[in-house]
């Protein structure tokens, strides 16, 4: 099968073109020498199936960024029949450089000049016929977003592929040539083929920026926008998640329980509380992931994410992060899982890992549920809002402390050189495709791990079979007894330790687990907790729950996104240590003060 590699600089609409060409058939492929996810799809061009691979956006073939390394390795290790190079028509003054560099590889090439509509609006005229002659490769104008020129593009790809010889991998030694010669050639080609008006900037963007990046109103508007986004995702997401939960519960009680009623009780429990609940955990994340990425597509494709970097960078730079990290951190307050997946927009690995390390400290909606229960059970009504507020403060403090401690080790080598593209709005199909693809990715990469973890915790809390589930005699109970010396100094007793073990799977199940452990209904639980714990113990417990591993799904996604067990281990171990330390300090200090 013939193979086309899609290449271009960032912000050229490369993904949009890829989506146009491939529809929803794309999947993540594995390639020799390349450790990051690359999308690929098989499409019908003419009468042949052709494979199209979407390489990361690069500025330069001999650059030092992660993306540039990936693109280089891919081209060296994998034979390709054709390079499809995409460039932004409005920025040919610098984008031609990449095209000229790629020409040195002597691979067959087709050049697509995207955003033809924008270029026209700005009064930029590109003579594609002249460019074709100058570059000696087919050049055509398209608008991937509007779908303009796509028919001609497919035809051109088909025709060019029909003429190419055997596929070959690239010899990158050819590229390390003379940069000055390249620049001279760039200027000559650009001047002959492109006509630019004197001022070619997007007036509307300038006007919007004057408001959104205003020295005084910029930040408040940014926080308002984040709040609106947050509200939108979770007011729409919560009922959806509840709907899914209700559906799963109904299936469980109406169909599955009846089907396995005759089976051995242990097997029944394994299927219902192990496998079925494990699958349920995975499924319950799907609506929120789709919604998150629908809105993320807007924030990202509109160009607002770079504006957030402009507004927040002065502060975040001190933490070794940038403004985009702050956006992801805020999104983590809804749910850590999609926020972690969202860090993919950061192209520097150090920056991305550091951001992924701090997101799990964001007090997500599942943890909020536990806190609201404990606070209302143990604290006076007047103190309740203050207690909850202090937990939000702790959430930020833990994140910023972690960033400060690890910014040296996960250093961000890339200088912040971000493009501020003009404001654009993504099309609905683009948004849906994005949400759908992320869900598919999550299912493929994380579901096995989550299921395994749920089954493991089920085994711990249900073995041996002849004692009460989750009781002190089970493996979990014995484990809790073993950990007693660790948790006793935090004021966390034996039974609560078992609840923490459940909390490792998901914070949503902590309250349910406690009901089982105490042998009470969820209604009576508040009274029992209030009777057995004082406020110091309760707060120490909440501190621990806030900071330690948020859930198994988060761990699965940390692994999925970092592709490193070492990093995943750090991202689990460090919060555990910090949770213990803070909880210990709080509990002992409070007791020492006489509370």
């Amino acid at each position: 099968m013939k193979r086309i590699a899609l290449l271009g600089m960032p912000n050229t609409g490369k993904s949009t073109l890829f989506n146009r060409l491939t529809g929803s058939s794309a999947r993540v492929g594995n390639w020799p020498g390349v450790t990051v996810d690359l999308l690929m799809a098989k499409v019908l061009l003419g009468v042949d199936m052709v494979e199209i691979v979407d390489l990361p956006g690069i500025y330069n073939l001999h650059g030092f960024s992660e993306d540039e390394r990936v693109a280089r390795t891919f081209l060296e290790e994998n034979p390709v029949d054709l390079l499809l190079v995409i460039a932004n028509s409005t920025q040919l003054d610098r984008q031609l450089a990449l095209i000229l560099q790629l020409q040195a590889l002597e691979l067959p090439m087709v050049v697509a000049l995207n955003m033809d509509d924008e270029a026209r609006r700005l009064g930029i005229q590109v003579d594609t016929a002249l460019l074709t002659r100058e570059l000696k490769v087919p050049v055509l104008s398209i608008s991937a977003k509007q779908g303009f020129g796509m028919g001609r593009m497919r035809q051109l790809l088909t025709d060019t592929l029909a003429q190419v010889g055997t596929a070959k991998s690239a010899d990158l030694n050819r590229v390390f040539g003379d940069d000055d010669a390249l620049e001279a050639r760039l200027d000559q080609v650009f001047r002959s083929a492109v006509q630019m008006p004197l001022t070619a900037t997007d007036r509307l963007t300038d006007r919007i920026d004057r408001v959104l990046l205003h020295p005084w109103f910029g930040l408040p508007l940014f926080f308002a926008a984040m709040l609106a986004l947050f509200e939108a995702v979770y007011t729409l997401g919560a009922p959806l998640q509840e709907g899914v939960a209700w559906l799963l519960q109904t299936i469980k009680t109406e169909a599955v329980e009846a089907a396995v009623a005759e089976w051995h009780p242990m097997l029944q429990s394994f299927l219902l509380d192990g496998i079925f609940d494990g699958v349920g955990t995975v499924v319950s994340f799907l609506p929120i992931i789709v919604l998150f990425f629908l809105f993320m597509a807007i924030v990202e494709d509109s160009g607002y994410l770079s504006r957030a970097a402009f507004l927040m960078d002065a502060f975040m730079a001190r933490l070794g992060l940038d403004g985009r990290a702050f956006v992801m951190q805020l999104m983590g307050f809804g749910c850590n899982v999609p926020a972690l997946m969202g860090t993919r927009v950061m192209r520097s690995r150090g920056l991305r890992l550091l951001t992924m390390l701090i997101i799990p400290f964001s007090l997500c909606s599942a943890r909020l549920q536990v806190f609201v229960f404990f606070i209302s059970a143990v604290f006076d009504p007047w103190a309740a809002p203050l207690v909850l507020f202090s937990l939000y403060i702790m959430s930020f403090a833990a994140a910023f402390l972690t960033a400060l401690l690890y910014r040296g080790r996960l250093a961000n080598q890339d200088p912040l050189l971000l493009e501020l593209p003009p404001y654009r709005f993504p099309t609905l199909p683009q948004m849906w495709l994005r949400g759908w693809r992320e869900v598919a990715h999550f299912l493929r990469e994380a579901s096995g791990f989550i299921l395994l973890g749920v089954v493991l915790v089920w085994a711990l809390t249900h073995y041996p079979a002849d004692v009460a589930p989750a009781g002190p005699e089970t493996l979990a109970g014995q484990l809790a007894a073993l950990f007693a010396p660790i948790f006793a100094p935090l004021g966390i007793d034996h039974l609560m330790t078992i609840a923490l073990l459940f909390g490792f799977v998901a914070k949503e199940v902590v309250l349910g687990a406690m009901a089982v452990i105490y042998g009470a209904g969820e209604g009576e639980l508040a009274g029992i907790v209030a009777g057995s714990t004082d406020w110091v113990q309760a707060y120490a417990f909440m501190l621990f729950v806030l900071i330690y591993t948020p859930c198994l799904s988060t761990v699965a996604v940390l692994k999925q996104e970092s592709k490193s067990w070492r990093f995943t281990a750090l991202a689990v171990a460090w919060p555990l240590a910090l949770a213990w330390l803070l909880s210990f300090t709080f509990y002992q200090t409070a007791r020492w003060l006489g509370f």
Binding site: N60, M196, D313, P415, L420
Partner: protein, 72 residues
Amino acid sequence: MNLSQLHSGETGTISALVGDPEIRARMQSIGLRVGREIAVIRRSRFGGPLQVRIGTTDLLIRPQQAMQVILA
């Protein structure tokens, strides 16, 4: 004179890039090339990044990198 010294609305011509070769290469590939005219559109508060414009491209650049862009 370097880029970080320009006020909002001021323009200069890039005469040299100095400092770490890796960062220089990166700046060059994103469009900061010798001979090009560069304008500072706005500066963010608290010593944050500058918004600059070269041709049709707008970029964010931190002050410490802007100091490596020497203007004629």
